[in-house]
């Protein structure tokens, strides 16, 4: 099990390291931007530059966003960041289908290795990868805030940043488990990743539309993204426990399905 886990971690290390470093770099860049705006006293000017309808759309959160803390927190919910980390979750989660596709799993399972250990190993790889990336983002934020931010700047609270990171990490974990469940029943990684990727996009759009269009709101609970609500956290709310429970529930459900599919399936290319 340990040998297989280490081998699998080696297989994903480059991808995880690259995504982690890019996202960590983004946190540093955002803190540099916030520092620059703060030093020039430009946050107040930015708010006045916004057209009235944009201000109406954003509501009271506009003040929260156009602040040092708001810019820094952007690194945890900007769509590019969300898709990068969910893309990583899907890439890592669907590796099991690739192992079936190339026949590597034949060699593993021809040894006295239980199938459930193969899935457990895939779960551990997903969880460790996400912990590493989110941990790297948090570390970059903390170090940059300590070393680059002006002393007088209104820095975001640790609770808020950790809450955002936790919510983002759990969202990615949920997609990781969905990807693993799909991949555990698939013979082709491309198919599994395609289904998971399109599902993520559809669910993201559903949540986005539901925030603007009331009729879609009734089914938005179906989307895992409905349980990722950074806006309320930026305006001061804490991470709702209900969201944590639902996202962990999705993750556990996906992992359970992955076990069920992989333990029963025929392994054939």
């Amino acid at each position: 099990m340990t040998a297989l886990l280490l081998h699998s971690l080696q297989r994903v290390r480059t991808l995880v390291l690259v995504i982690g470093l890019l996202l960590a770099l983004l946190q540093v860049i955002l803190i540099l931007v916030a520092t620059s705006l703060d030093t020039g006293g430009q946050f107040a000017q930015l708010a006045t530059l916004l057209p009235p309808f944009v201000r109406a759309l954003l509501g009271p959160s506009v003040t929260a966003f156009l602040s040092f803390g708001g810019i820094v927190s952007l690194g945890y919910f900007e769509p590019g960041v969300i898709f990068a980390i969910i893309g990583l979750a899907i890439a890592v989660g669907t590796r099991i289908a690739y192992e079936v596709e190339v026949g590597f799993i034949d060699l593993i399972l021809a040894r006295p290795v239980a199938r459930h250990l193969v899935v457990t190993r895939a779960i551990l790889v997903s969880v460790l990868s996400l912990i590493f990336v989110v941990g790297l983002m948090l570390a970059a934020t903390w170090i940059a805030l300590q070393t680059l931010a002006p002393v007088a700047a209104e820095k975001p609270s640790a609770t808020m940043i950790v809450g955002l990171a936790l919510n983002l990490g759990l969202l990615a974990l949920a997609w990781s488990s969905i990807s693993l469940a799909i991949a555990s029943a698939s013979r082709r990684r491309g198919v599994a990743a395609g289904i998971a990727g399109v599902s993520a996009l559809v669910m993201f759009l559903l949540d986005y539309v539901a925030r603007l269009w009331e009729p879609a709101h009734r089914i938005s609970w179906l989307s895992p993204f409905a349980y990722f609500d950074p806006l309320s956290m930026v305006t001061g709310a804490t991470l709702p426990m209900g969201h944590v429970v639902v996202l962990i529930g999705i993750a556990l459900g996906g992992f359970a399905l992955a076990y069920a599919f992989f333990l029963r399936r025929d392994i054939s290319k």
């Binding site: 040998a3 026949g103 034949d106 025929d266 054939s268």
Partner: protein
């Protein structure tokens, strides 16, 4: 002890029957050649033994351990060489061997691995290279080493000599003979009849998922039709009652199954100049099973 026990093994994919009611026993220390054309069900049977596929019905056991309900114990006895080695091209040969040795229950003897490397001409220098630089023959050698390295009691080999040059094939046959001398069992899938004839004691032949022949190689040869070439000093009439391969005024080439006595009696009255009987080959015995005209 029975190394492999199959009873009524059936695997269906919807309407397609890949293996149909296969029953077979392989004794410990035996080398059994598992023959059949592509799609006959050889690989499906092997994958059921390894619990990669689940049978629709029937049972498969390895050294008494059920391959499905006690699969870990069953697979602990096995070294497996797949027909295609599914490995990542950026791994080195050494990394592959290390990983596979760590996943098995038996300690790998570095000295034995060294001997395998030497016999198959895969030196340390090559093991340090990435698999993307390997030729198909080198990959095959690596596959053989990973299957043999823990010296398991049962070797399941799917088309093991595919891609090996004649020299390496010879080295591989020697290796098989050695492991058999040490009491190991080999379940050997192939469609190369000459090599099966050379290394196996018994053959099992599958056709469309069904076992159509299970016999010793010797018995197969004995039952096979021999080719008899007779030349005459003067013109003779065409033979009657024999399978004719070629016939001329002074030449008969016949295929004769079973005892040669009746033919010799017929020839006694004819001006025979020369008589040559070719030894029957396994190929002669199984050819008609492949073509589907045997019952």
């Amino acid at each position: 002890m029975t190394a492999i026990f199959l009873e009524g093994l059936t695997k269906q994919y919807g309407r397609l029957t890949a293996v149909a009611g296969l029953s077979l026993e392989v004794g410990e220390g035996e080398i059994l050649g598992f023959l059949g054309l592509n799609g006959a069900g050889k690989t499906t049977t092997i994958r059921i033994l390894l619990d990669l596929l689940r049978p629709t019905s029937g049972r498969a056991k390895i050294f008494g351990h059920d391959c499905q309900s006690d699969g870990l114990a069953a697979r602990a006895m096995v070294g497996y060489l797949p027909s295609e080695l599914g490995l990542y091209p950026d791994l080195t040969g050494r990394q592959v061997l290390d990983l596979m040795s760590k996943l098995g229950p038996r300690a790998v003897d570095a000295k034995y691995v060294g001997q395998l490397q030497e016999r198959l001409s895969l030196p340390d220098r090559d093991l340090g290279r990435k698999l993307r630089e390997y030729s198909s023959g080198m990959k095959r050698k690596l596959g053989i080493i990973q299957a043999f390295q823990a010296d398991p009691p049962l070797l399941i080999l799917d088309e093991p000599t595919e891609g090996l040059d004649p020299l390496m094939q010879e080295a591989f046959y020697q290796l098989l003979a050695d492991v058999q001398r040490r009491g190991r069992t080999v379940f050997f899938s192939s469609h190369v009849l000459s090599e099966v004839e050379r290394v196996c004691e018994r053959v099992a032949l599958l056709r469309q998922g069904e076992l159509v022949l299970l016999s010793t190689v010797e018995e197969c040869r004995r039952l096979a039709a021999r080719t008899v070439r007779v030349t005459f000093q003067s013109n003779v009439p065409a033979p009657v009652g024999y399978e004719i391969v070629e016939s001329g005024p002074r030449l008969w080439v016949l295929r004769v199954a079973g005892p040669l006595g009746p033919l010799l009696r017929d020839l006694a009255a004819l001006p025979v100049e020369d008589l040559h009987v070719s030894e029957a080959k396994l190929e002669d015995a199984v050819r008609h099973f492949y073509s589907g005209d045997a019952q």
